[in-house]
């Protein structure tokens, strides 16, 4: 009588939860382990600083890294100001129940769930053809900006909403204008959530293939301007593993470089947000 109860009450659920958690950990370790195991054999400093040769089977990924960096730079310099502005508007200037802000919120939710290939086709039709930017880093970056905006805006907006109402009340009691309340009080306090949105957006952008193949394109040469086509890391990986016979080794090494970039970006931004949290007290 006692034994099965023990099994039912505590042992079985505990076991199940541990197994599930273990499985998640295994999946992660297997994936990362596979990429590191296969990638480190080929990855070297030489690989990072030399341009690809022979469709990527020889040489390295220097031009791909530069193109990816430029695409991300365009994407983030366009989406950050727009995202921040829209989030401030949604959180500070309108209430949740207002029809216009509801409309914006609904559109953002729909945008966030649109598959990336649709953004790719839209970017190709709008930026490449209608605006005449052609296959270029600028088109790719702008397409990505459209794609990461919903994530950026919703995370930042949540950040603003999570700030205590006391901040705003004390500020107006002290006679601060809405503008200085925003710049000196709310914005610094909401920076961590902006950074989280930034990282989520960056993570989605750097790993994007479908939205970029028809916008920033396939050219693996060193881009001379933002109007040149440039191949992103994820497209390079896709092409090497799916289209170029004998490209698997280089694909693994590139994937490892991509993961390393992501990890570095993540730790950099959490370091910055930590720094911010400490200095914020001085600025306010």
């Amino acid at each position: 009588m006692n034994k099965p109860r023990l099994l039912n009450d505590s042992l079985l659920p505990t076991l199940a939860i541990w197994t599930v958690a273990g499985l998640v950990g295994c999946a992660f370790l297997w994936l990362i382990g596979d990429v590191i195991w296969q990638g480190t054999r080929y990855l070297s400093w030489e690989f990072l600083i030399s341009p690809p040769a022979n469709a990527g089977r020889q040489g390295g990924i220097s031009t791909i890294l530069v193109s990816t960096g430029l695409i991300l730079l365009v994407c983030m310099s366009v989406s950050l100001p727009i995202g921040l502005g829209a989030a401030v508007f949604l959180a500070e200037w309108t209430s949740v129940s207002q029809p216009f802000s509801q409309f914006i919120r609904r559109s953002l939710d729909v945008l966030a769930s649109v598959p990336s290939i649709v953004f790719g086709l839209f970017g190709n039709a709008f930026f490449c053809q209608l605006l005449g930017l052609g296959f270029s880093i600028l088109s790719g970056g702008l397409t990505l900006a459209c794609m990461v905006l919903p994530i950026l805006i919703r995370t930042t907006e949540e950040g603003f909403r999570a700030l205590p109402q006391d901040y705003r009340l004390s500020a107006s009691a002290l006679g601060l204008t809405k503008k200085s309340t925003l710049f000196h009080l709310l914005l610094p306090a909401a920076i961590p959530s902006l950074l989280v949105g930034f990282i989520l957006g960056l993570g989605r952008a750097i790993a994007e293939t479908a939205a970029l193949i028809f916008t920033s394109g396939y050219v693996d040469r060193m881009p001379e301007s933002l109007l040149d086509s440039g191949r992103a890391l994820s497209i390079h990986i896709y092409d090497l593993s799916m289209n170029v016979p004998g490209g698997d080794q280089a694909a693994y090494a590139t994937a490892l470089a991509l993961i390393a970039c992501l990890v570095m970006l993540n730790s950099l931004s959490s370091w910055i947000s930590g720094l911010w949290a400490r200095t914020r007290i001085l600025t306010t």
């Binding site: 310099s77 950050l80 610094p188 193949i213 396939y218 050219v219 040469r221 109007l227 170029v244 490209g247």
Partner: protein, 276 residues
């Protein structure tokens, strides 16, 4: 905080001005050719383009991908100068001009452990229409067949349908794939699968320890030699398509791609050069 915003606007401004300044300068001195189309040809033409750029300073060859049909659509819309198509032109496309730069054969692949070494046309039709669903019915082991087919819009699929006189709605596929390497990965991971891919790519993979095997078509073995001799029935031209008869830089590039200067590159991608 204000500082950050100030820095940010400066960066934005600089970015915008560099984009505006560089564009006319970079493009007035350069001739830029844009090619789009078949993903099979894209890596090869990228390399031919790089070699052409070295010999003709001031030209840029930009190669994009997306499939043969996309290449044709892009030159019709004027987005690209040259389309890449891994098939001959259709009747509806006869107003365009196409030039063959290499040949490629399509072969059927199975897992290395499969005891069969060739299949005739009828067996393949039966497998792909679903009337044969177990390997033992055609002399293999007792196991269900996994049918791997190419995605719609791929030139390989069109050639396959035309050769076997099938319609895409008749095909009962279990797996639908895009590029060649994907097909090879699916078949090498499934001992009971059958698929069809570019012979050159398959021969390369088979010789590099990937557990796949090329099946002969009837009595003819699937090899690059047979494609070269013209005996292998399932072969296709790799072509560069232009809106009209090419002139100027377009003609120079297409002639270069056809010339003996590019044969070694064609062989590196496991296609069959025009000669030799």
């Amino acid at each position: 905080m204000l500082n950050i915003i100030r820095y940010f606007s400066i960066i934005l401004f600089m970015l915008a001005t560099t984009a505006c300044q560089e564009s006319p300068a970079a493009h007035s001195t350069n001739t830029k050719l844009i090619l789009t189309g078949s993903s099979t040809i894209a890596p090869l033409v990228s390399e031919i383009g790089k070699r052409f750029e070295v010999q003709h300073p001031g030209t840029r060859i930009d190669v994009q991908t997306g499939g043969s049909s996309r290449g044709i659509a892009d030159i019709r819309q004027g987005i690209a100068h040259i389309g890449m198509a891994s098939r001959s032109l259709k009747y509806s496309e006869r107003d365009l001009h196409s030039t063959v730069i290499a040949h490629d054969g399509i072969g059927f692949i199975v897992h290395q452990s499969n005891p069969l070494s060739s299949l005739d046309d009828q067996a393949i039709v039966n497998i792909y229409t679903g009337s044969v669903s177990n390997w033992k019915e055609i002399g293999g082991i007792d196991a269900p067949i996994t049918v791997v087919n190419k995605a719609e819009g791929r030139a390989t699929l069109e050639l396959f349908l035309k050769h076997f006189n099938l319609h895409s709605t008749q095909i009962k596929a279990h797996v639908v794939i895009g590029d060649n390497e994907q097909g090879i990965k699916v078949v090498s991971g499934n001992p009971h699968a059958i698929g069809y891919v570019s012979i050159g790519t398959a021969a390369y993979s088979a010789s590099h320890d990937i557990p796949i095997k090329l099946l002969g078509l009837g009595a003819i073995p699937a090899s690059l030699d047979e494609v070269l001799s013209g005996r292998f029935p399932l072969s296709r031209p790799l072509t560069l398509v232009t809106k009209s008869v090419p002139t100027g830089t377009l003609k120079m590039f297409i002639d270069f791609a056809r010339s003996s200067d590019s044969y070694d590159l064609v062989s590196q991608y496991y296609f069959v050069p025009l000669q030799g």
